[in-house]
């Protein structure tokens, strides 16, 4: 009785989801959740690509970049994914080592990513800088470096994401590491009194910041653009740090086991095109990977200069990660 009702429930619930366009080949793109959401680039990307590919683009989502990689690793060689979109360079060394990805064979042109690009497995589709975002109407003295932040009165509170469960959290860990190397533990010790709390993900942290729980939140330099463009609210700003800002470069790659390798290639090419890239700024709220003909949308601050960009190479990031995490944990557990 139990099993029958389970099957009946399953049937009833899945019928609605059954695909109608069964004849066309299906391109499976794995991505993180907010990319495919109604407010992200996903729906527009799907429409634009389906107009030229004679295929059905289907998104499959995992929580964020790291969850995405874990998912692909879990599926391994049986994976039905064609393209994985949404890893970042802090993850690509591990992704490459898994042997699950195939070379893309594309030489990107007109690239806007600081520092150039030569990864044979992954192509960048957008990028941004991690930064602490604050409310101009509320925060009087804005710190302009980690040291200034550490020296600020204890009442200045920041909320950050946990590196173990969040991409920006890991970004901050590597930011401090890239800027201060062996001195990173000292910086963390200085920051500790200001860290109100550590959240599981970006949403929780940003939500708490907007509710006035903390004075600053770890986010992106492009976050204020969202408030300005979508909400006509210019009160939010990103604090620019003298040490420079750690970059997040988001990438996509083709699976070695892709059921539709040709479509996957076509999609990666499309990803680097003006059509796809022009969607990025006001849907994913990041900088596009290529220079747009029209330039950045109004309200989007120009990126901080490339010489202020900090980043560890994928291999460095992989090596630095575990030690940096241990330092972070011990500094904040005191």
């Amino acid at each position: 009785m139990f099993r029958i009702s389970l099957m009946a429930a399953g049937l009833a619930l899945t019928l609605a989801g059954a695909s109608m366009a069964a004849e066309k080949p299906v391109l499976n793109v794995y991505t993180y959740d907010s990319f495919a959401s109604d407010w992200g680039p996903g729906p527009k990307v799907e429409k634009a690509f389906e107009a030229i590919c004679d295929c059905d683009l289907k998104f499959t989502t995992a929580g964020d970049g790291a969850a995405l990689l874990a998912r692909v690793q879990l599926e391994g060689k049986r994976s039905r994914a064609d393209v994985v979109l949404g890893l970042d360079t802090n993850l690509t060394a591990r992704a490459a080592a898994s042997g699950l990805f195939a070379p893309h064979g594309i030489t990107p042109e007109n690239l806007a990513v600081p520092g150039g690009w030569n990864d044979p497995l992954f192509l960048p589709f957008d990028w941004g800088y991690f930064a602490f975002v604050y409310d101009k109407t509320k925060l009087g003295t804005v710190p302009h470096s980690f040291r200034e932040l550490a020296a600020a009165p204890d009442s200045l509170k920041i909320v950050i994401e946990d590196p173990r469960s969040s991409t920006p959290g890991l970004g901050l860990l590597l930011w401090v590491k890239a800027a201060y190397g062996d001195k990173a533990p000292e910086i963390w010790k200085g920051l500790a009194p200001h860290i109100l709390t550590v959240t599981k993900g970006w949403s929780e942290a940003y939500g708490m910041f907007l509710k006035g729980e903390a004075d600053m939140v770890l986010s992106y330099t492009t976050s204020p653009a969202y408030h300005l463009i979508a909400e006509n609210d210019n009160s939010k700003a990103a604090a620019i740090f003298d040490e420079g800002h750690y970059m997040q470069i988001e990438v996509a790659g083709k699976m070695a086991t892709a059921p539709h390798p040709d479509l996957a290639d076509k999609f990666l090419k499309f990803m680097m095109s003006e059509k796809f890239q022009s969607l990025i700024p006001t849907t994913n709220w990041m900088y596009p990977a290529v220079r747009l003909k029209e330039g950045l949308p109004k309200g989007f601050a120009a990126p901080i200069p490339a010489d202020k960009a900090l980043i560890l190479s994928p291999e460095q990031a992989l090596v630095a990660r575990d030690a940096a995490l241990a330092e972070w944990q011990s500094a904040l557990s005191k």
Binding site: F2, G10, T14, G40, A70, R78, T197, E204, Q329
Partner: protein, 523 residues
Amino acid sequence: MAERAEQVITPALVAGLGAAALVAALSLGTVAVVAGAAVSPMRLGAGDWAALKFTLSQALVSAALSCALAVPVARALARRSFAGRGLLVTLLGAPFILPVIVAVLGLLAVYGRGGLVSAVLVHFGYAPLSIYGFRGVVLAHVFFNLPLATRLLLQGWQRVPAEHFRLAAQLGMTTRDINRVIERPILRAVLPGAFATIFLLCVTSFAVALTLGGGPRATTIELAIYQAFRFDFDMGRAAALALMQFAIGALAAVLAWRMAQTRAQDPQLAPEVHRWDCAGFPSRVADSLGLLLVALFLLLPLAMVLIDGLRGIALLDGRVWLALGRSVLVALASAVLTLLLALALGLAAVSRRQGAIAGGFESIGFLSIAASPMVIGTGLFIILYPLVDPASMALPVTALVNAAMSLPFALRATLPALRQAEATHGRLADSLGLGGGMRFRLLHWPFIRPAAGFATGLAAALSMGDLGVVALFADPDAATLPLYLYRLMGSYQMTAASGAALLLVAASLALFAVFDRWGRAAR
């Protein structure tokens, strides 16, 4: 008894075995699958022992505090009748079924640095409240679980026959005498189980503990499991941690059973008992004040969710209703599944009078409370991925896993009622030759209907709010309401998200209330 011993294999036993196998596969089986898929050996890291320590200490304190506070609250509710008492009891159920993220933001809106209490403090020149740290974790867990403890204790009070309170009145017992003669035995019977349940719920906590814990000190085992999957992709360690969590669960369950004293229960229920010992002014003031404080503590954050949500609800479009529809479907399926599982296990447990087998069915039903949602989801994914598209299974898997997670509560609610039915009228049913369906309909169902209503409502509501279990099965084109809510938040749509949160809370509460009322109707 001889008559029934002839039937060795009864339908009840078969159904019970089936349900037990399913639950065991979901909870322990998935750990085995994850361990089997691991390339790394099953071992623990140095940080994991710190996680164990933190997990245990916060869970112990949270459970102890929840139970300690629940005693006066349940007592006050049991001995006072006032307008709105029923509504208050229903609303007290709300925090327990709130989605984690909604509850945390609601709590912070009251007790946070930018919350109501801090605003008042700052206004009068004091420093804002600081709740982050161990106390924040405990505060949040008490917020979630005090209502559950209260509800469980209240059920204990309601099992006391009305004559006992009358007898106490006639014998001129003081409040203190009643406490010793009537209430303490109730507490001895109910508290260990309530404590163990809440302890285990706090053991598997993750996002709440992290967010309010203020930093990596507040790392629970469940967070370590999450880290093992997502950050290290070390499934051996994940499996080892999951087993550690099971061991804690088993230990807690055994201790609870040892401490709990079972006693004969009388069938007469007295929902609101008039009490003569506590008509005095001081005791009335104490009860009213206690209830008021607890109501404020629990309902203010809910009120903040409401106020916040009203602004956001206008920003929602039609898609949110689709998501709501899916969630309600999942919740209903999950509720029905929970009830079927609980009945299958419960009936199998009472159909055997020998302790070992009955105890076996019972303990299997409680397995899933110590299970790691992350491990269940991953294990199922490993099994199902080669066979089907996980996204196409999103809703059935959500319903199934949520049903397994709600099963311990459903069993805790229905099993005592089933036992009572067998104890008081089992022989009558035997003598009338009532077996199978008739026995269930005439003997068991009337007794367990209120408990079944409560349990089904709880399962439906818990299923509405939960999403963590099935992230791997999420279907991007058919989001449930919690997923939709997280997506809004992940896309800067915080105001709309609070609208969705309000909708989620309202729908969960409504589902709970409908089932609960249905259970209590027509006695």
